[in-house]
Symmetry: C2
Subunit: 188 residues, 2 copies
C-alpha cells in the first residue's frame, strides 16, 4: 500500500513536471506579455530577420533560428555569401519577426488580425567566435535542430549570429501593441 502511494506521488510529480520540461508548451493567456513572448519564440523555428543594407534601408530575409530554452535567438548564416550576414557584420542592428499564424493557432483569422499573435524582437546581432564555448555549442545545436545546416559549405563563412534582444513588441489581442519588458522576458 505504501509503495503504491509512493508510486502515485511519483507519477503525479512526473506529470506535473512534464510541461516544465518542455519549457513553454501551452499557449499562455494574451495578457501575460513576457510568458506569451517566450512561448511564441520557443514554438517557432524560423522567422524574418531584418538588417540594414549599405544604404541603411531595411532588408528582410527568411532565416531559421533556435531558442534553445533561454529566449535568446541564435541564427546560422554566411557572413561572406549572404546579404543578411554581410550586412550584420557592417551594422549589427536587426529585428526578428515571428507569427503564430504558421503554428496553426489563428484558425480562420487573417494573419494581420490582432488576436493572431505576432512578435518582433529587436536588438543587435553578434557574430560568435566558434572556438569559444558558446559559439561551438550553438553551432552544434543549430545543426542538430536544422540538420540541413550541416550541408552548408564550411569554407563559405557560415557563422553563428546571436540576437542580443533590446526591445520586444507583441500584438496578441484587440489592444495596442505591447512593449514587453526584456528583463521579464528572460525571467520566464
Amino acid at each position: 500500500m505504501k509503495s503504491v502511494m509512493i508510486l502515485t506521488v511519483w507519477l503525479i510529480m512526473i506529470i506535473m513536471a512534464t510541461p516544465a520540461a518542455h519549457g513553454l508548451g501551452s499557449r499562455p493567456k494574451p495578457d501575460d506579455g513576457p510568458g506569451f513572448a517566450r512561448w511564441i519564440v520557443s514554438q517557432n523555428s524560423w522567422g524574418v530577420l531584418t538588417t540594414l543594407d549599405f544604404n541603411k534601408s531595411p532588408f528582410g530575409n527568411v532565416l531559421s533560428f533556435m531558442d534553445a530554452g533561454t529566449g535568446i535567438p541564435y541564427l546560422y548564416d554566411s557572413t561572406k555569401l549572404d546579404l543578411t550576414g554581410i550586412y550584420a557584420v557592417a551594422d549589427p542592428r536587426a529585428s526578428l519577426t515571428v507569427t503564430e499564424y504558421v503554428l496553426g493557432y489563428c484558425g480562420s483569422n487573417d494573419p494581420q488580425w490582432p488576436i493572431c499573435a505576432k512578435l518582433t524582437l529587436s536588438g543587435q546581432l553578434e557574430v560568435l567566435n566558434k572556438s569559444l564555448p558558446e559559439g561551438k555549442w550553438a553551432e552544434e545545436e543549430l545543426i542538430k535542430r536544422h540538420p540541413q545546416f550541416g550541408g552548408f559549405p564550411k569554407a563559405m563563412g557560415f557563422d553563428v549570429l546571436k540576437l542580443n534582444v533590446q526591445q520586444i513588441y507583441l500584438v496578441n489581442d484587440m489592444k495596442p501593441r505591447k512593449n514587453v519588458s526584456v528583463i521579464e522576458y528572460f525571467r520566464v
Copy 2:
C-alpha cells in the same frame, strides 16, 4: 464502382487544373527569375514588412497584402496606431519578405535551405489618397481579399500603403541570390 473511379479521376483533374486558371498558377522554373518572383508574390497573401524606426533601426511586422495581378504589393495599415504605419509616414523605405515555405512547396526542406524559395521586394511605401481612384479601388479590393480588414475602425487612420518596388532579391536554388530586374518583373 467504375463511375466512382471516373468521378475520382475527374475530381483529381479539376483540382490539378485549378491553379492554371489563376494565371500565375504553376511554379515557374527556378532560372526564370522575373517569372518566379511574380509567381511567389501572386501566391502569397501575407509577409513581413520592414520599415525603419525613429532610431533608423529595422522593424519587421507581419502584414497581409494583395498583389491584384500587377506585381505591386498593396497593404492596409493604420498610420496613427500601428508602428509600421507611423514609421512608414516618417521614412518610406521598406522591404516585404515572403517565402514559399508557407505555401507548402518546400517539402521536408528547412525554410532556410536555398531551394525553398524566398523573395524580398524593397522600395518606398506610398500612402495612397483614398479619394483618388487607385486608393479607393485598392481599399475596396484589400477588404474583399482580407475580409477582416473591414472590421478595422475607420477612424483609426487605416490607410492603403503601396510598395513602389525598386529592388528584387530572390533565392530559389543552390546558387547565389538573384537580383531580378524590376522592369522584367513588371513585364511578366
